[in-house]
Symmetry: C2
């Protein structure tokens, strides 16, 4: 990635915003440092992101790229992440049009846009940049067992499933640390986190042999940036497709502590699997124990808090489930998006102070 000032983004979400798998768009709108001037989605054109995300997010939805350019867009961000990461063929025209109009194109797909001859030549002609966030550094290093810097507190978000808010919880907790006057660092481990924070590595793209080494290296970099380090988790330990990435993060970052993220109401793993197959979400106390067992196989770690995503229930139900989860797990529990991250971060800080974990 070239260094760049604040971009003015149009986010392509064609047909997917407000439904499944628009988490990249929502993450960038909510937490990104770039301005979002429009959503490009002909199926909901004329509406506004505030209808879904609330009044703080006044982003118009447009039907064509030219409307977004008229609004000042200087970069097109591919805002969805289909399973497998491939580029739907129907988006090709809009990407070429963006590059010809000298908009940078930002993508987190597994299929690298910069390797596509049509896109590469359009970019070369106009001077636009193609950023493939999933392209990992050609580093090829295995983990070396690096100890953490004294004073650093490394906290990994883990979860009962994919796409339930592990990145969001890490971002909220880092914000709470900064608001408490501490040096907080968010460690992006996926393409959306990178789009938001402007650094990091999409570790699910790393060669398996170097996954733990790359996770270790991300933490090494973060320890130069601050003391309270919140690593974005990926997948879940019992997800039949994505668990190796989760294990690599746990064994590679050797976190002092973990925060377990769960979405209230979720019963099954999110997965494009064969029909008739079910993989129920495990009870939270079992997940706490399993995470501590797995981490402890390389370096001891504890789950010190539960972060609930209560977006599908009412305020009253959210408060009730939080109380019930605290009782069930014996751990401080909250929804840091709905009720703010200060209380949960306070509990995490207290746990570190009382135990001298780091």
């Amino acid at each position: 990635m070239r260094p760049h000032s604040i971009r003015r983004l149009v986010i392509l979400t064609e047909g997917q915003f407000g439904v499944h798998h628009a988490k990249t768009a929502i993450g960038v709108i909510r937490y990104g440092r770039d301005d979002v001037v429009a959503l490009l989605d002909s199926t909901i054109a004329g509406r506004n992101v505030s209808e879904w995300l609330g009044d703080r997010y006044d982003v118009p939805v447009v039907a064509t790229l030219d409307e977004a350019i008229a609004l000042g867009a200087d970069a097109l961000l591919i805002g969805i992440a289909p399973t497998g990461g491939k580029l739907p063929e129907e988006w090709r025209a809009v990407i070429v049009h963006a590059l010809e109009a000298r908009l940078d194109v930002l993508s987190g797909l597994h299929t690298f846009l910069g390797d596509d001859p049509e896109f590469a030549s359009a970019a070369a002609l106009s001077g636009a940049e193609i950023v493939d966030y999933r392209r990992v550094p050609d580093r090829h290093q295995t983990a070396v067992g690096r100890p953490h810097r004294p004073g650093a507190k490394v906290i990994l978000t883990v979860g009962s499933d994919c796409a339930i808010g592990k990145m969001t919880v890490a971002l909220e907790l880092e914000r709470a640390a900064r608001e408490a006057g501490l040096s907080g660092v968010f460690v992006p481990t996926g393409q959306t986190g990178m789009m938001i924070a402007g650094w990091g590595i999409s570790v699910d793209r790393e060669i398996s042999d170097f996954l733990a080494g790359t996770c270790e290296w991300l933490v090494e970099q973060a320890e130069e940036m601050g003391d309270w380090i919140f690593v974005e988790g990926q997948g879940s330990i019992d997800h039949p497709a994505y668990s190796p990435v989760t294990f690599g993060l746990i064994h590679g970052t050797t976190p002092h502590a973990m925060v377990l993220v769960h979405k209230v109401g979720l019963e099954e793993h999110d997965w494009d699997h064969l029909p008739g197959i079910t993989h129920p979400i495990k009870p939270l106390p079992e997940l706490v124990a399993l995470h501590e067992t797995i981490a402890g196989m390389v370096a001891p770690s504890r789950v010190i808090a539960v972060a609930l995503n209560t977006s599908d229930v009412t305020d009253d139900d959210a408060r009730r489930v939080i109380r019930e989860t605290e009782a069930e797990t014996g751990l401080p529990t909250d929804d840091p998006v709905r009720f703010g991250p200060a209380r949960l971060f306070g509990a995490i800080r207290a746990a570190f102070e009382s135990e001298g974990t780091a």
Copy 2:
């Protein structure tokens, strides 16, 4: 890989045969379907492989490639696997010389020889082939939760550490199955296994997001080849650098059963780590329980036997440790290399028959 008849190999092991990390050379000599006409290793030139591996392996060691060519070599196999997989610079000349002499060059390194301009042009000029075994198919599929074919019995070798014999145990057990008149399949998951069996995928090279999907696909292919399927394991669940690959194999192959491999006398993980760091090998009963816990997070599985590598102890000590391990774990235990695989395979077969596991 092009289809090919039996090759006549010279194996480059310069300075490493008989010491650490020559496991590729030894595996190919012991189990490969190709002929090995010479070892290329100037530090032990004039000696014979039989001095290390016994009289069955009459392979001369030569100091120069030309001597190997005089012995009829038609392919140069890179016979060691340095950590990180990079090509030592001093081997460049011998590889170019081999390609110019129209020897195929076979490599399991992470650094692809075929991508090197000097090697590629030498190969193109002479018509020699460069085979990079670690180059994975451009498939990019996540796991779909495919059920096993009825009648298939999928058995994964797992281990207390890297480089202790998981591939060898799988090869020996597959041989025992065939010798018992059953249809046995060895599933290669690493470059040496591929060199031996002529198919497979080096899963540690796979993109992390597709690791479980690739392991699932390997088993799907194996289930078309036979009933008794022995999957070569990689790494270990508590190895600080390689555990993600091990987890991907467990969750991706969803084995009916696992065979735990351990090297007698081993106390520490094999690892190029920072000085002062130690990672002791866990007790076998704990490893049995951990493997069953981890597998059970996606699909239930049991460790049904222990395979000991007793190569560092006497016959008497080997027999004693096997008895002690059976008592300690309650599992059938043997060294299938030292004492033959028939007894251990018999115990595995009995376990399947008594339980109706598959």
